[in-house]
C-alpha cells in the first residue's frame, strides 16, 4: 500500500517527466565524429596486426637458432629412443646388466 512518501515520490517523478533531455546540439556532426573514431580504431588495429606479421620471420629465425644450439651444445649420445627421452643412460645400462641383457 502506498504511503504519503510514495505519493510525494510519484509527484516528483511526474514533474521530472515534464523535462525531456534536449540533445539536439550534441547530436550535431555526430556521424562525422563517430566515423573518425572508428577510423582511428581501425588504424590502431592495422598497426598492431602489421607489427605481429613483421615479427613472425624473426620468431622463426629464433626458433631455428635455439633448435640448432640445443643439438650442437648437448647432442644426444645414444640412438636408443627410450634413452633419448629419459636421458638416463647409466640407469639403462645398469638395468640391462642386472637383467642379463
Amino acid at each position: 500500500m502506498k504511503d504519503e512518501k510514495d505519493e510525494m515520490l510519484d509527484e516528483l517523478f511526474r514533474n521530472a517527466r515534464l523535462m525531456k533531455p534536449d540533445t539536439g546540439s550534441v547530436e550535431e556532426h555526430f556521424e562525422t565524429r563517430l566515423l573518425a573514431v572508428m577510423e582511428e580504431k581501425r588504424n590502431d588495429q592495422a598497426i598492431w596486426s602489421s607489427w605481429t606479421w613483421r615479427l613472425v620471420p624473426w620468431l622463426a629465425i629464433f626458433v631455428v637458432i635455439v633448435g640448432i644450439g640445443s643439438f650442437t651444445i648437448d647432442p644426444v649420445s645414444s640412438s636408443d629412443l627410450f634413452v633419448t627421452f629419459t636421458s638416463s643412460d647409466d640407469d639403462y645400462q645398469i638395468t640391462n646388466m642386472l637383467a642379463g641383457g
Partner: protein
C-alpha cells in the same frame, strides 16, 4: 513509386553495411541517433560523457551487426545494446558515487506555466541528487520505470534480468529515494 534511401528498411541497410558500405552505416546512425541520445542523456554526466556513451553504443552495434538476427525488430536489438552500454558507463564511475551531473545537457520543458516550470526544474534537480546515490542497477531500473515509463516486462527484456529481479531493484531504489528525500526535507 521510387523509394528514397531514407525509406529503406533496416534489414536492407544492415545488408549494405555488412557488404562494407560505410555510407549505409551513417544512414543507420542518422536514423537512430535521436533515440540513442535521448536514452543515454538520462545517465550521462555531461555533454562529453554523452557523446562518448553514444559513440560506444554505435561502435558496439557496428562490431556486432553480423550477430543481429532479423527475428526481432532492429530497434529492440539496438535498445538492448544501448541500455547495457549505459549500465556499463554507470558501473565504471561507481567510484564517483554522489556525483551530481553537470547541468550541461539542456532540457525541453513540457510545462505550460512558469510555476509548473519551476516545480519541474526543482523535481529534476532533486531527483538527480537522489539518483546519484543509488547503485548502477537501481538507478537504471528506476530511470527506465519512472522516467522512461517502461513496463517491468520491457525492462526485463532490455536488461536481461528476470522480472522479479527488476521489481526487487525498483522497490529498493524507491525505498532509498524516499529516505534521501526525507533527509532533504528535514534540512
Amino acid at each position: 513509386m521510387i523509394s528514397t534511401e531514407s525509406e529503406l528498411p533496416d534489414e536492407r541497410i544492415i545488408e549494405d553495411i555488412l557488404a562494407g558500405k560505410d555510407g549505409a552505416f551513417v544512414q543507420l546512425v542518422s536514423r537512430y541517433k535521436r533515440k540513442v541520445f535521448a536514452m543515454a542523456a538520462r545517465f550521462a554526466r555531461d555533454r562529453d560523457d554523452l557523446d562518448d556513451i553514444c559513440q560506444d553504443i554505435f561502435i558496439k552495434i557496428y562490431e556486432n551487426l553480423g550477430k543481429f538476427r532479423s527475428d526481432a525488430p532492429f530497434e529492440h536489438w539496438l535498445s538492448r545494446i544501448a541500455i547495457r552500454t549505459c549500465y556499463d558507463a554507470l558501473r565504471k564511475r561507481r567510484k564517483e558515487r554522489g556525483h551530481v551531473p553537470l547541468d550541461i545537457v539542456h532540457y525541453q520543458i513540457a510545462a505550460e506555466s512558469g510555476e509548473e516550470l519551476l516545480v519541474a526544474e526543482e523535481a529534476r534537480t532533486l531527483l538527480e541528487k537522489g539518483m546519484s546515490q543509488l547503485n548502477p542497477a537501481e538507478r537504471l531500473v528506476i530511470t527506465l520505470l519512472e522516467l522512461e515509463e517502461k513496463s517491468v516486462r520491457e525492462i526485463a527484456g532490455l536488461t536481461g534480468w528476470s522480472e522479479t529481479n527488476v521489481k526487487v531493484r525498483a522497490f529498493r531504489a524507491r525505498q532509498k529515494l524516499k529516505r534521501i528525500l526525507e533527509k532533504h526535507h528535514e534540512r
